[in-house]
Amino acid sequence: MGTANAITLRGVSKSYGSVRALADLDLEIPEGSAMAVLGENGAGKTTLIRIVLGLASRDSGWAAIRDTDSRDHLARRRVRYLPERVQFPEWATPRDVFRHIERVRHESSPGDFIERANELQCGDLLGRKFGKMSKGQRQRLALALATAGKPDIAILDEPSSGLDPMGRILVRKTVAKLASGGTTILLCSHLLGEVEQVCTHAAFLNKGRLVANDSLENLSRFTGAAEIQTQEPGRMTEELGRAGFSCRTEQGSVIAVLSEDGTIAGLASAAANSGVPFTGIQMKRETLEDVFMRVTERGEQVVP
């Protein structure tokens, strides 16, 4: 990961009438990182994206793509965007739209588009009119259009919206592939599981304010419990209970609460002495959902 920022916002504020969408927002998205922007509906996520893309004006502050003011259209040369609500002309085919986009970009890489469409299992739809497609098919093709080639920056607003489980898996794979290829990702999604799988960083917005911004690892705290992987969770729970640990089973694993002065070594020792075979033991961290609840519901701030 480089040290330069792909996207920078400094002191950005934006209001719609009396409604404040963004308030004095500072955010840096490092080159090559995969940043999720999370928050409740109306938190300001889409406004942030629109300001970065120059689609909306800002009341104050500065926004830039690689040090070029985001209002300058040249800043968007290597940026690809997937809007939340994907709309295409009903009469057009994906090939038509791709041709139109390439005309504007002065590029020609139909092979990349076809390859991406095939990855998203919609390569057979390239000649079909958008008016004759389902919402899911349109969404997959929109993602193929937005990520064809090797963009430097991909801004994806709810890329899994309206997709079936297979579609969501394919989207995750595509985003992960982009990220591993060095593309900077700015992802807005309400699917926190998806975010955990493809993003390295997350920023949480609450009523237009940045309330948390860090790597997923730093955002997620240890919960004071440990997870033990075993084939016999019931027996392990019983044995650890006898040893004084408060335990429960969760998705085939045993979750043991550590006492305030307890360590994982003590738990490991108790597990070993129980005679129940186990394959692993690790401190349990918060899920992104836990972090989300902590920073948005309880108003805790985690800004480095």
């Binding site: 629109r50 893309l53 120059g54 689609l55 909306a56 004006s57 259209h73 040249l74 800043a75 968007r76 040369r77 940026v79 965007y81 809007p83 609500r85 709309q87 295409f88 002309p89 009469w91 057009a92 038509d96 139109h100 986009i101 005309r103 504007v104 970009r105 002065h106």
Partner: protein, 286 residues
Amino acid sequence: MNRLFLNAFEHLLRRRLLTVALIVFAVFMLLFWWGLSSSAKAAGGFHDESGEGMNGLMTPDDKAWMAMATAGPMLATILIGLTIILGSSVLPDEIASGRLSLWASLPQSRRRLYTSTTLAPLALSTAMGYLFFITAALLIRAYFPFTPANLPLALVAMPVWIAVTWAAVTTLSLMMGKIPAMLVTFILGGFSATMGSIVELGKTIPEVGESGIYKVANTVTMVFPIDRGYRAILAGLLPARTTIDEFLALMGYSGTVSPAELLYPLIWSMLVIFLGFVLFRRMEVQ
């Protein structure tokens, strides 16, 4: 610019509306042709009460004017309707459908996006205008031979005439939405064209020129200057002199349009379309 224009032009060409307009035009031209050939073939086709043929009183130029008096309003109506629909379609449709964010997020300036998407309807409507009026003039000429008074004037006047409607409907669409803009432009166009006839009569008949209605009519044609362009097309396309100028003035014709008279509608259109650009540049794309 050319590439963006091509996108918008392709968008327009794929619309069914264009096919409908061409079919209406073709059907109308066939009927017109039928009417022309029947009139030309009829021996002494224009009779007075005494039974004496009027053909002797009317020159071929007069007949050409009369033929265009039949076709012109219909062609103008189709063309203005087409311009209103096309002009209010591309950009307002993209905005209303939410597709504009896709195009505006590409590396192109708002100015280029605006000019390319708005110039395409103007270009297409102008091309259709040439097709409509030149086809009609050639048909008429086949039966009533005449020499156009000033063909370059007609060719120049066509985009100027179309531009007034185009600029108005484009900018009004950005201000009030597509349907209200279409209605307002259509009403303004009809009103201004009617007032234009009074202005023309006022120039021909001094008594009319001194009346209050003349001043009102003149003001209306300045507020929405659609009238002079249309008159200039016909003045350039058809013979210079006829024996029935006053009569034709009421029907939207004039043999007295100078190229300088096109300057005002041209500047008016440019200012109005620029106002649209100012609105578009400030627009928050959803």
